[in-house]
């Protein structure tokens, strides 16, 4: 019951979000702000995590394929496919859920409990659309760049780690990351991240928008935003993988 109630209310919110904007110019301005806040501000954390994950994947693969029957290029190939298939979309999405999800929920939640949303409504502004739409556009537009960046940086991190620990040579790695390369994997990752970005933004906005009470409730909304976004990312990961790869 509770779940269906929330899903219904979530779609009603989306319905209001996607109604006609009051003034395009202002929405455009807000979208640019959100790209800065949600997108550009996430570059750092995605880069750091990608470089380390690339490194760890490479080293682990190397230790698990020490037997000489495995060719060395397998290390590069495994690192590449892990990054392309799962890490740079799903794991990056989970990290973004933690970062921008909590950010969105607490921002909108604070606006709710301090009556700033009421203030928008009383002026005649569609608050749902004004607050949420620029965030959706910004994150859906920017997330694919983060994923692409994560792929490059992750592969780079793998190379640094592999070469500096001496588990393989640069030639092996470069050969590996080119071997049996399937470009569609990138498309698959980008489709996934776009959908994940939409889920994170809308679920977090939902929790913020329907906060009621005080700062304690805003904190709770923010936690719920992260937890629910993460669950739905994992759920949709299974669904999308079935749809796109099988």
């Amino acid at each position: 019951m509770g779940l269906f109630y929330h899903i219904g209310k979530y779609f009603l919110l989306l319905f209001r979000v996607f109604s006609k904007p009051e003034k395009l110019k202002i929405y455009y301005r807000e979208t640019i702000k959100e790209i800065d806040k949600l997108g550009l501000n996430s570059i750092g954390i995605v880069a750091i995590i990608s470089v380390f994950m690339g490194a760890v994947i490479t080293i682990q693969t190397a230790y698990n394929t020490e037997n000489p029957i495995y060719p060395k290029y397998l290390i590069g190939l495994t690192a590449r496919d892990t990054l392309l298939l799962e890490f740079s979309s799903t794991i990056v999405a989970l990290i973004l859920a933690g970062k921008i999800g909590s950010n969105i929920a607490s921002e909108i939640g604070t606006m709710r409990v301090t009556e700033q949303i009421d203030a928008l409504e009383i002026m005649g502004v569609n608050s749902a659309s004004y607050l949420v739409l620029p965030k959706i556009i910004a994150s859906v537009f920017f997330a694919p760049f983060l994923t692409l960046m994560s792929m490059f940086i992750g592969i780079f991190g793998g190379w640094i780690a592999g070469v500096s620990t001496g588990v393989m040579t640069t030639q092996d790695y470069v050969y590996g990351i080119q071997y049996a390369f399937i470009p569609y994997y990138i498309v698959y990752a980008l489709i996934k991240i776009i959908i994940f970005a939409f889920l994170i933004t809308t679920i977090s906005s939902y929790h913020g928008y329907y906060s009621y009470g005080g700062s304690l409730e805003v904190g709770k909304s923010s936690t719920k935003a992260v937890v629910h976004s993460s669950i739905f990312i994992l759920l949709f990961n299974v669904i999308l993988t079935q749809l796109l790869l099988s």
């Binding site: 009051e22 003034k23 202002i26 606006m111 301090t114 009556e115 700033q116 009421d118 203030a119 409504e121 009383i122 002026m123 005649g124 502004v125 569609n126």
Partner: protein
């Protein structure tokens, strides 16, 4: 003029407002008074349509506001200004941007015209040289005044204030009250103010409605209050020693006939 007729409102089965009927007059500051939790905010938000009422009619002049569709409601709202309890300024925008916001949204003015209008409103509420400060950087009294400036930016016909002087020192509180009353008269607006502050009742209560546990319990002018025999109203008004003293003084000056 705003008229409410048989308003009922409940939240998930819990009744908050019961059968409220009254008229709020144009050019006057109409007060809604009552204890914390008596339903003042819910009533005010129901009048402006931030809460959907369960039953009843809310009329702005001849228009039945709560029966309008979404679009017409939005249109009506550009004639309303509201001051929220905490000010509700947008904290990611400066003072000037806050006041300019409704102009940005609903007018085709040029940037200069908007800035001029914003400064005019800010000057009206005595805020000068604070244009580029953020809400967190100014005092509570200033926040309230900026919020008033934002509320009047579009020349509204209706002004709503939810406890405009809560959290302010007595002197600043009176300043805000007087400002609201002056603006009301100046622009001949219909103003409704929620308060539980007795000073406000005495200062600006052109018309006072007392709500008790979600029902209209008493109605009159601030002068009528002293003569009222309504027990709950008296308990509320004369809760403090100071107000009791004033009543006793007033009564001793008026020998009973």
């Amino acid at each position: 003029m705003i008229e409410v007729k048989n308003i009922y409102k409940s939240f998930s089965g819990v009744s908050v407002l019961k059968d409220i009927n009254t008229v709020f007059e144009q050019g006057k500051t109409n007060l809604i008074i009552g204890q914390s939790g008596s339903g003042k905010t819910v009533l005010l938000k129901s009048i402006v349509g931030l809460h959907e009422v369960d039953r009843g009619k809310i009329c702005f002049g001849d228009t039945i506001f709560n029966e309008l569709n979404f679009k017409d409601k939005k249109q009506m709202r550009t004639q309303m200004g509201m001051l929220f309890q905490g000010g509700a300024l947008f904290d990611s925008a400066t003072v000037e941007e806050n006041v300019m916001f409704p102009l940005d949204m609903f007018t085709e003015m040029s940037q200069d015209e908007k800035r001029d209008r914003a400064n005019e409103c800010l000057k009206r509420v005595n805020i000068i040289n604070a244009n580029n400060l953020y809400p967190a950087e100014i005092s509570g009294g200033m926040q309230k005044r900026v919020a008033i400036a934002r509320a009047i930016a579009l020349n509204p016909k209706y002004l709503f204030c939810d406890e405009p002087n809560s959290g302010l020192d007595p002197k600043t509180a009176i300043l805000i009250d007087n400002l609201i009353q002056e603006i009301t008269q100046e622009f001949n607006m219909t103003t409704i103010v929620n308060t539980h502050d007795m000073n406000s009742v005495m200062e600006i209560g052109d018309k006072v409605m007392f709500i008790y546990k979600g029902e209209k319990w008493w109605e009159g002018t601030n002068n009528d209050i002293f003569d009222s025999t309504n027990k709950e109203l008296n308990d509320f008004i004369f809760a403090s020693k100071l107000s009791q003293k004033i009543r006793d003084l007033k009564n001793s000056n008026q020998p009973s006939s």
